[in-house]
Amino acid sequence: MIVAEALTKRYPEGREALRNVSFTISAGEMVLLTGHSGAGKSTLFRLLAAIERPTAGSIVINGQNLTALSRKAVPYLRRKLGLIFQDRKLLFDRTVLDNVLLPLAIVGHPPKEALRRAQAALAKVGLPNREKTFPIALSGGEQQRLAIARAVVNRPAIILADEPTANLDAGSAREILEIFVAFQQVGVTVLIATHDPVSLPIVQARTLRLDKGEMSEPGSEQALATR
């Protein structure tokens, strides 16, 4: 469960990227965060991942108040989140397998268990038999699958994805979304930020819309077209 209240974010040199934003996302929900480019979606993503701190307001994730979080506690919060970054942040000098092994090493799984989990995650996102490949040799859709595998390998309760289908053709975008739907169906909370909801052939999701840093209809429920 994510509860955001009266969030405001002002960058040091800029105007307000978020203004008085409040919303609640229940456990197991799938939510689309929409809005034009520059609306503040990535800013919200970074606030939820404790990469940035809000100027005002509060965020509570699964009972943990992010505004009161100490620097030491931040890594442990992030481990509970499956983060998929807009620029993917893959390690191009490491193999596909090593990219997925990184979060497991961070948590400290023994090598055998880590290998088993990494292979399972790669299979789940549809990237089997590519372990020894380097990310540069993967297509855009495959790189996104790798990013998802790395995000989910520690079995987070919440997945946060920033523009996961940007720059993908319709077919690949659809496949990526199906992966998210599969996770939501087993109880994972999924929040997907996208500037182009129309191209998302999504099943059922609530939409939160950001407009120039403000949430236009806080909490409005909107079912998208069923495929």
């Binding site: 890594p75 992030r78 481990r79 983060l83 390690l91 990184l102 961070i106 995000a151």
Partner: protein, 299 residues
Amino acid sequence: MSAWFAQHLAALRDALRRLAAAPLNSLLSLVVIGVTLTLPTAGWLAIENLRQLTGDVEGTQQISLFLALEAGRRDVAEIEARLRQERVGRWRFVSREDALKRLQAAEGMAEIIASLPHNPLPDAFVVTPADTRPESLESLAESFSRWPKVAHVQLDSAWVKRFDALLRLGRLVVLLLGVLFAGALVTITFSTIRLQILAQAAEIEVARLIGATDAFIQRPLHYFGALQGTLGGLCAALLVSAGFLMLAPAVGELARLYGTSFALRGLAAGDVVILSATGGVLGWLGARISVLMHLRQLL
């Protein structure tokens, strides 16, 4: 506990992987660190050998006790008893008659001595102390001079003192060299780790974003510094031992010509352990400082 162990093992493996990833760079760093540690180590070894050499040279550290002219048999016996009681080492009694005879034997002295009304030489003891440290020699001579009927005490250790002062100076020079080169080692490690951090900036950023603690990121870098220092220490031990092997035969030959059995002392196993451990600690220190200074800038 086992998770802790596994994490450290993983960090060590990571550090080894990084060392092996750029073998030429690693080798170059190791040689530089090795040479850096070689100089103070070789200096220390040279001083140790010189110290041992003075310990070996015998008969030069003697104290002569000259008794007063009026001293009689009983006084001589008294001194003898005291020497025996104090266990100062070996000694030899030279009576005034013996001394005169020896002087007469010297060329051109016989006539001069014949012209003397009486024997001008005193009875004497020549003591070879067991404890040859200069400060002990001094205090021994000092206490001798307070004994009854002792007119004059002569300590034949002027050159020993000079040599000892020289050794002390040498030790100081080696110590300063050691500090200087320890600083150099820390600096070398500091910059290697800085380069490591720059090269892995992307990896470090990603790891942090997905939940890595500071310890997780820093640990391999610390291990890298410590490992490099330790291997550098071993490299220095190798260089010093090689130099020793080249010098030992020549020194042995020289010692034989002087009729002594002096043998050059090389690095013992314990020395090698201390050297590598020192390298490891200094390497860790350089890595630690570098990590503290450069990791903050990244996030």
